[in-house]
């Protein structure tokens, strides 16, 4: 059970850091609203609901990307990541703690974005909300690990979107499907499958991403 204690310790640390710095969360919030407004102007007048739902997912994916770009910044500043790697905790706990914190932030952003979307475009149903929750898990799990990879690169801000977007495609399919299809269960199940497979993969491989 010490594993989960470590995860909670680390997640709390991240929440505290963001609450203090207050830079990433407000930016994500502003970004998602701005994006939705741009989409209003980008959609033709007779666009159908499916197109609008698709745009919700584009907004979410790119907002998540914005937040993920800075997710390991506190660890980079004074080499704190090495401090965590030295600690006796499991390396995967570092990933899980961070991903959990990112999930909380993304969730908070979505709490604003979904009603905004409902206001600007079309009402949001339960299947969409379920889809958003499940997809967010995948986004946070995979995104946190990819961000750690990108952090090792010279061109980290450039490379993270390139790494993330192909892996986000199945999530977008699942999410849009859940919103639009008459049979959302299939798409929600697919999202859960994605989450399960990739969460395990991230959990097992994070150790190697931070080791030399």
């Amino acid at each position: 059970m010490t594993y989960f204690t470590d995860v909670v310790t680390l997640a709390r640390k991240d929440l505290r850091l963001e609450l203090r710095a207050r830079d990433t969360f407000p930016a994500m919030l502003l970004f998602v609203i701005s994006t939705l407004v741009i989409f209003h102007f980008a959609l033709p007048a007779d666009a159908d609901e499916v197109a609008a739902q698709g745009l919700l997912w584009v907004a979410l994916v790119f907002t998540a990307l914005l937040g993920l770009a800075r997710v390991w910044a506190p660890e980079r500043e004074s080499g704190a990541l090495e401090g965590l790697v030295l600690a006796p905790c499991d390396r995967s706990a570092i990933w899980l703690g961070k991903a959990t914190a990112v999930f909380v932030f993304l969730g908070a952003v979505e709490l604003v974005a979904l009603p905004a979307f409902g206001l600007f475009f079309a009402p949001v149903d339960a299947a969409t909300v379920a889809g958003v929750i499940l997809a967010s898990i995948g986004i946070c799990a995979v995104g946190t690990l990819l961000a750690a990879m990108a952090a090792a690169s010279r061109t980290r801000e450039l490379v993270l979107p390139l790494l993330f977007l192909p892996l986000a495609i199945p999530l977008v399919v699942g999410g849009v499907g859940a919103s639009v299809s008459p049979d959302p269960g299939r798409y929600l199940a697919f999202l859960a499958l994605y989450d399960g497979i990739f969460a395990v993969l991230c959990w097992a491989s994070f150790e190697y991403v931070v080791s030399e």
Binding site: V50, L145, M149, A150, A152, S153, R154, T155, L158, V159, L162, L163, L165, P166, L167, I169, P170, V173, G174, V176, G177, V180, S181, R186, Y187, F190, L193, Y194, I197, F198, L201, S205, Y208, V209, S211, E212
Partner: protein
């Protein structure tokens, strides 16, 4: 791995690949019967599908070497994984190219969203292109090897997941307008297909060994230079 010309089989492999490709082309264009419905475009199919299968094999091989790297911590596997993925990307690009030609010949469009195989390769092409961008922006060393290996493993997991996603997407996004029946292959057709598949696999392996040889020679040369100075 020895780089002496006595030990490596690259010339033999290259010759074998060339021969098999020649045979495959011969079979595809002259021996196999013409398909009533599709005509010449079906001939492209003899290359398009084997190339696609070879690309999958390369990615799989690259992931296997990546797994070995992470498990055994021997840096030798890093280069092997990289070269395999490099070959996979080349064959993947060829898949997109031949697929596009096939689509134009069959349906008159250079791109078809309804062709799941093509869409999958587009996603994989994006994914593996990012592999190279990632790899070349990290300094050489165990960090780069480890990260590349983990990414290669993600790729191989993405293949089935993406395929499933694309299948699911069919129903909501793009109604299937063009249908392609799975080829019911006669005996000769199947033989042609198998020859082409073998030819592509041997070609890929020959290119893999060639590139690996080249890179190892390069690295040995550098080491020698360092020892001398």
């Amino acid at each position: 791995m020895s780089t002496s010309s006595r030990n490596n089989h690259v010339p033999v492999l290259a010759a074998l690949a060339a021969a098999l490709i020649g045979v495959a082309i011969g079979f595809a264009f002259f021996v196999a019967p013409e398909d009533v419905d599709q005509g010449i475009s079906q001939r492209i199919f003899y290359f398009h599908v084997p190339i696609a299968l070879t690309a999958y094999s390369c990615f799989g091989w690259g992931a296997y070497k990546a797994l070995l790297l992470l498990w055994r911590k021997d840096e030798r596997y890093d280069l092997e994984s990289y070269v395999a993925i490099h070959q996979g990307t080349i064959f993947g690009s060829l898949t997109l190219l031949t697929g596009s030609i096939w689509a134009k010949a069959s349906w008159g469009h250079w791109w078809l969203w309804s062709e799941n195989q093509l869409v999958l390769f587009l996603v994989l092409f994006l994914f593996y292109s990012a592999y190279f961008m990632l790899r070349f922006s990290i300094e050489e060393g165990p960090r780069r090897a480890n990260i590349s290996a983990v990414y290669a493993l993600f790729g191989v997991v993405l293949i089935p997941v993406s395929f499933l996603a694309i299948r699911l997407a069919e129903n909501i996004i793009h109604p299937t307008v063009f249908t392609r029946e799975g080829p019911q292959m006669s005996g000769t057709m199947f033989l042609t297909f198998c020859i082409a598949w073998l030819a592509m696999t041997v070609l890929a392996y020959a290119l893999y060994r060639l590139e690996l040889l080249g890179k190892r020679l390069d690295s040995n040369l550098r080491e020698l230079r360092e020892l001398v100075t």
